[in-house]
Symmetry: C2
Subunit: 467 residues, 2 copies
Amino acid sequence: MNAPLSFHSAGVPAALIEALSQRFGPRFTTALAVREQHGRDESPFDVPPPDAVVFAESTDEVAFVVAQAAAHRVPVIPYGAGSSLEGHLLAVQGGISLDVSRMNRVLQLHPEDLTVTVQPGVTRLQLNREIKDSGLFFPIDPGADASLGGMCATRASGTNAVRYGTMRENVLALEVVTASGEVIRTGTRAKKSSAGYDLTRLMLGSEGTLGVITEITLKLHPLPESVAAAVCFFPDVASAVNTTIQVIQMGVPIARCEFLDAHAVRAVNAHDRLGLREAPMLLMEFHGSDASVKEQAATVQEIAAEWGGADFEWATTPEERTRLWTARHHAYLSGLQMKPGCRAVTTDTCVPISHLAEGVTAALADAEAAGLPHFVVGHVGDGNFHIAYLIDPALPEERDTAERLNDAVVQRALAAQGTCTGEHGIGLHKQGFLVEETGAGSVALMRAIKQALDPLGIMNPGKIFAA
Amino acid sequence: MNAPLSFHSAGVPAALIEALSQRFGPRFTTALAVREQHGRDESPFDVPPPDAVVFAESTDEVAFVVAQAAAHRVPVIPYGAGSSLEGHLLAVQGGISLDVSRMNRVLQLHPEDLTVTVQPGVTRLQLNREIKDSGLFFPIDPGADASLGGMCATRASGTNAVRYGTMRENVLALEVVTASGEVIRTGTRAKKSSAGYDLTRLMLGSEGTLGVITEITLKLHPLPESVAAAVCFFPDVASAVNTTIQVIQMGVPIARCEFLDAHAVRAVNAHDRLGLREAPMLLMEFHGSDASVKEQAATVQEIAAEWGGADFEWATTPEERTRLWTARHHAYLSGLQMKPGCRAVTTDTCVPISHLAEGVTAALADAEAAGLPHFVVGHVGDGNFHIAYLIDPALPEERDTAERLNDAVVQRALAAQGTCTGEHGIGLHKQGFLVEETGAGSVALMRAIKQALDPLGIMNPGKIFAA
């Protein structure tokens, strides 16, 4: 289980406030409204906001802030789009929220190499808009229009990962401001490399605890010749998931394979007026040549039919496709509206694919028994699903129930040799689970790395492991 | 440029020899023949052999050796199949060669999850033999029948990486004996995870300098329904490489795309009696459904024709296919036989794909001008090629010439935002290039990690960076 949160702030010394306001003018602020806006994310936690917020517009500025913070031993919390789900942005030890959302330029597009270099505040939708004439796209899609810096920091993935991989597989190189305020580069634009320790991968998923990401070089992918999306409804949850399992086991190169339970379908119907059948559903997308897309779809239809899946309903136009995927991306917000004023406690386990059906089924049975409103969405092609428990933040017993249910979901995932977090990260919420999952020895090794790279403990302290 | 090698050994204290011979009996030895066999690899370096060799058969035994070595501050050099190319196995500071080749069991095959867990001494061919009835295969193929532990340690790749990725993308989890002799686990069997620092990727490519890998969990892939291999000959090097560039830019999911220059073709003809036309050649393989393989091949044939490529010659039977790929895998050894008694200095640059033709062409022109026998093979679909310069080890001026040529190849790759090593690693040979490539700040950060995880400096010291 996870320990309760603790937080404290030593405050920000006047000399640091002076140095930052001198350099940043109105882009440095201690105004409560701005601090509060930077003191929360999509997690269900409430903690005091950061002591100040600074809006950086260049790598030099980031380096200046970190060097100053190091000199005064004040925490720095990198801030992108604010869409984190596990409390990564919360100022549990006070300090400065370093907002990089204005570092939002696409710096270098190399269509001939299928690479692009961007600043960390560029969001995934912005990137795809800006490169759309190149015939290429960036597939990683966590649902929220997250910043690419934030997606690096949490090793994000989302709906396309089943075919295109996660941030782990799609980041070639980073520029990072280290905890001492030095600027380093990790990686090159080459597709692969064996040049020393994989600092790129070390930074991906480090949740701002080892440095601030200031530049990102990404792999791009050619837009597929043909794209087709379809929905398919199943008599029960297990049939939908088992269809997915078989599709993966057969090696069908499906691009997206998303599960929504009946509650989630009801929520998106209400929010986006879709009129979908309110039953367990797979929302799928196929990429490739015309022939390959047809072939993939035929194989999946055959498998679905064996599990009692209804005929595919195709989204034949790009507009219809966009409508379906937008609804999927709204599922989280749509779900929240099922219980006005609620907050969500969200699970994020990922398991070896053969264990997925039992995991989802058991999670749903427990949630029904507990009587908390909930819904399930899942990147089921990866073995990853989210059950969101809707709690009234004023009722501690609802939070306790949700945490107990979450705990059971995680324990089942760990027993199946899976992970407590497929894509959201550890943050504040899963520090106990991390130790259970990987063992005290591995966490000690992570701490040794943290200590070596951030000896003053100023980089987003209290995340991943308690400070 | 790279600094000259230095080496020294403090010797192994009698108490350590006593402890190891007591525990390991005849599996611990200081016999010169065994030490010499463990004191070299495929690199062109000569250094004194390790002081002793121990053959471990379990994780416990590895942990015992490392703990004893730590207690006596004696270096430990993990040893798998001995196929390293950059001096990783050489005892530049003396110490114990820890041979894990007898840890060669496939521990757990989970076909339903497309995963397998193996000991580090299992070789890639052995693994594919042992799992062949599962309908799955492990694609990573560096040519040599390397041990999977060694492939992890150098972040290896090879011919299939263009489609299936490298070790970076295909290792799910590791068991590692750390420098203090503790056993830790990194990762799970889940396909993706955001659980803390990516220790798996940190260990991959760490060349034995952070710990000894004792267990590996790998992703497997379904055997494709259809496989087709073909060769195609080109009027010049640039045309062959430009064909590849365009294939990649169009997103054709080609499984293997290997280049051999006319010298390499001549070498494999001589060695394997193949009768191939002695011209720049692509050796390709297509995986997928029947329809998809036909479609891919048609697209590539069209592109090749535009660059003056001859008609494809298909390897229609599995035996013919195996014959061609075996010849490709022999290319390095076949090439060595072009100059009896020679050794090879081998380059390993990898560049953004659009820069590949200029890189290969310039490397060949320089080599011709210098008059050293040479040949080129390349995983060109990844932007990675190797030029091997055949030198007489008795003639220092030939080594100097080869190193000068290698240096020029690397400088061109770095100028093109590529890497000095696509898949062989840094070892002893590229420590200067590593600093040029990634900068002193990044290397300092790698050293800080090394210091934190191996404070006594006993894990394969002197590799990646000088101790």
